[in-house]
């Protein structure tokens, strides 16, 4: 399949400012308690997000993307705990905050939207009350002011008749509309950081594009930092500035979108790119990386991708590769990278 990717629109670059990072994750380790063992779903993940920057987090299902996102928000399911690491956000380590202090940050300065818009809203309450609830949780607006704010937010997110739709219930909205409502909940307090965990995966293609455009616009408008999780490289290529490729709980390659799409170095990244020949369409992939992500319980000690890798050399099954600088703003976890050939 000979097809090259168009260079990303340059507008993406430079959207981020040069100050200290908005979010800095350092060596995050998140474990899941299974019957007898503690399994590492996230194993030493580090990355940064700047103001106004969109970082794409990509990888096959089960790579630990959601666990990473939920760790940042401290919203992990009961079985999972953060074992190590630091999450610096706006000058403080979120992992050291009291539950109460963390609650004041969620939905206020840092928000999250989830993959399943159909089940993410409370079915028993109106859209309006679910949005104003965020405003009342973090501010002192009067009921009328909060309602006006909620309506303005819905309007900004492209919901027609926003003021009237405030009194609708979630089941009266389509999936795309509900995801807009989720974005409204997340953004109504004007946060600095948005974590979006596969926000468009459950939606059909046209709606998907609309929602992504919205995120891109809002990022520019609000100077929002975004962690955008997806298993779709097309989405990353379209709107992200930087991309982190995750495999089996680790980041295996991270760098600017321009660099990683033009010169992917990790065999896994290369495989993902080959499996997505049509960046803007959702066709069945022509090329799938053979094999699957190893089980958390039987994680190889050396390179986790070795069993599926065509570049494997002896060292790959002996020691664990570290993430090293390969280029300017381009880090790589691989002993034997080769140039990308489609």
């Amino acid at each position: 399949m000979a097809r090259s990717f168009p260079a990303p629109v340059s507008l993406h670059q430079g959207a981020a400012d040069a100050g200290p990072p908005l979010l800095e994750v350092r060596h995050l380790v998140t474990e899941i308690q299974s019957r007898q063992r503690r399994l590492r779903a996230v194993d030493g993940v580090s990355f940064q997000v700047r103001r106004g920057e969109i970082l794409g987090l990509v990888g096959e299902s089960g790579c630990g993307k959601s666990m990473t996102a939920l760790s940042l928000m401290r919203l992990l399911p009961p079985a999972a705990t953060i074992a190590q690491g630091e999450v610096w956000f706006d000058g403080q380590d979120l992992l050291r905050l009291s539950p109460k202090a963390m609650r004041r940050i969620r939905g206020h300065r840092m928000s999250m939207v989830f993959q399943e818009p159909m089940t993410a809203l409370d079915p028993a309450f109106t859209i309006g009350s679910q949005i104003t609830e965020v405003i009342h949780a973090h501010g002192t607006d009067s009921a009328a002011a909060a309602r006006a704010r909620a309506a303005a937010m819905l309007d900004r997110l492209g919901i027609p008749n926003a003021a009237r739709r405030l009194d609708s219930y979630p089941h009266q909205f389509s999936g795309g509309m509900r995801q807009r409502v989720m974005l409204a909940l997340a953004l109504v307090m004007n946060p600095q950081l948005l974590i979006a965990d596969e926000p468009t995966t459950a939606l059909d293609v046209t709606i998907q594009a609309q929602i992504l455009d919205l995120v891109a616009d809002l990022r520019r408008e609000l100077g929002l930092g975004v962690v955008l999780i997806t298993h779709n490289l097309g989405v990353i290529h379209e709107i992200a500035d930087r991309v982190a490729v995750m495999y089996a709980g680790e980041i295996v390659e991270i760098g600017s979108v321009a660099r990683i799409f033009s010169d992917p170095k990790h065999p896994y990244t290369q495989g993902l790119l080959r499996s997505m020949p049509y960046l803007y369409e959702r066709r069945p992939s022509l090329h799938v990386i053979a094999g699957r992500v190893p089980d958390l319980g039987i994680m190889p000690r050396a390179c986790r991708f070795a069993a599926r890798c065509a570049n494997r050399i002896d060292q790959c099954t002996e020691t664990h590769p570290e993430l090293r600088e390969a280029d300017r703003d381009h880090e790589l976890r691989c002993y034997n990278p080769t140039p990308f050939a489609r």
Partner: protein, 310 residues
């Protein structure tokens, strides 16, 4: 929704007809002919034949039933077979007591079970949760008559805190209400807990946390609201059992409600009183089921149609 109401009401009516006929027919099967009882009563000056004639007992049973129900619907409840007292008078003096007892017991069971179940689910597997589950097991395992006797023994006989039986003071209702509420409380507790547990695992709860909403608000407003439908559905069933248990509990505590009167009537072989009270109790039970059914529909926003928007 209107169609549902009509359909469920019709269904309840059919059940009521069948049940009332069963009671009516059952009374006829009771040992000792009504007329014999009456004729043999010391105060009675009537012959069995006369009584049969008067009561229409010679006619086919369906005709008797229709006549009886017709009168009942017109508000003519008939007279006591034993002392000629209008059954309406008996009903008026006793229904209030039963309603009061049942209402207090129902309230007690809800006030206990909802917070305990909710907090138990929230702090799942904590010692608090285990404690409430132990209460639930005890509440369901101990028969209410036994609990009644136990309460009397402890609080009336030993501690002398409460009167043994009767109805004269506000304290009199405490023990019968507890005895009546215990099982309902226990069942409710389990249903609340499991319903809440189910809700806590749902995505919208995670969204609420992501919004920065307080735990208290998530639990007492959102989760409780969504956990309600099965609780409301069960409340109807519980009211039904509760009414059934009034027979036992009222009798033990000599609480002069419908159940007490019914048991007395049966013991005295006052068939007209027994029959009418039994049918009215059955009707009340069916009515509660209907209300619970409709309440559950209403409590579930997905079955409630929103006019206008949409």
């Amino acid at each position: 929704m209107t169609r549902t109401v009509a359909y469920r009401s019709l269904y309840a009516l059919v059940i009521l007809l069948i049940a009332s006929f069963a009671v009516f027919y059952g009374m006829r099967l009771a040992p000792g002919d009504v007329a014999d009882v009456l004729a043999s009563h010391p105060t009675g000056q009537l012959t069995a034949e006369r009584v049969r004639e008067d009561l229409g007992l010679n006619k086919p049973i369906l005709v008797q039933y229709a006549t009886y129900m017709g009168k009942l619907l017109r508000g003519d409840l008939g007279l006591s077979l034993i002392n000629g007292q209008p059954i309406l008078t008996i009903l008026e003096s006793s229904a209030g007591y039963t309603l009061k007892l049942a209402a207090v017991a129902a309230l007690l069971s809800l006030i206990m079970s909802i917070p305990l179940g909710l907090l138990g689910a929230w702090k799942r597997n904590s010692s608090f949760d285990q404690g409430t589950m132990l209460i639930a097991v005890l509440g369901m395992g101990i028969p209410n008559f036994f609990l009644a006797i136990l309460l009397i023994q402890v609080f009336a006989v030993w501690l002398k805190w409460l009167p043994v039986a009767g109805y004269e003071t506000p304290q009199h209702i405490i023990m019968p209400a507890i005895a009546l509420a215990a099982e309902a409380m226990a069942i409710n507790l389990r249903v609340v807990r499991s319903s809440v547990l189910e809700q806590l695992g749902l995505d919208y709860v995670r969204t609420l946390h992501a919004k920065g909403v307080s735990d208290q608000r998530i639990l007492w407003l959102h989760v409780l609201r969504n956990a309600l439908p099965p609780i409301v559905a069960l409340a109807g069933v519980l009211m039904r059992t509760l009414l059934g248990y009034t027979l036992i509990v009222e009798t033990i505590f000599r609480w002069p409600g419908l159940g007490y009167q019914l048991v007395n009537a049966v013991l005295k072989r006052d068939y007209t009183v027994a029959q009418t009270l039994a049918i009215l109790l059955t009707a009340a039970v069916i009515l509660f089921n209907l209300l619970a059914d409709l309440g559950q529909q209403w409590a579930d926003p997905r079955t409630r149609r929103q006019a206008g928007a949409g």
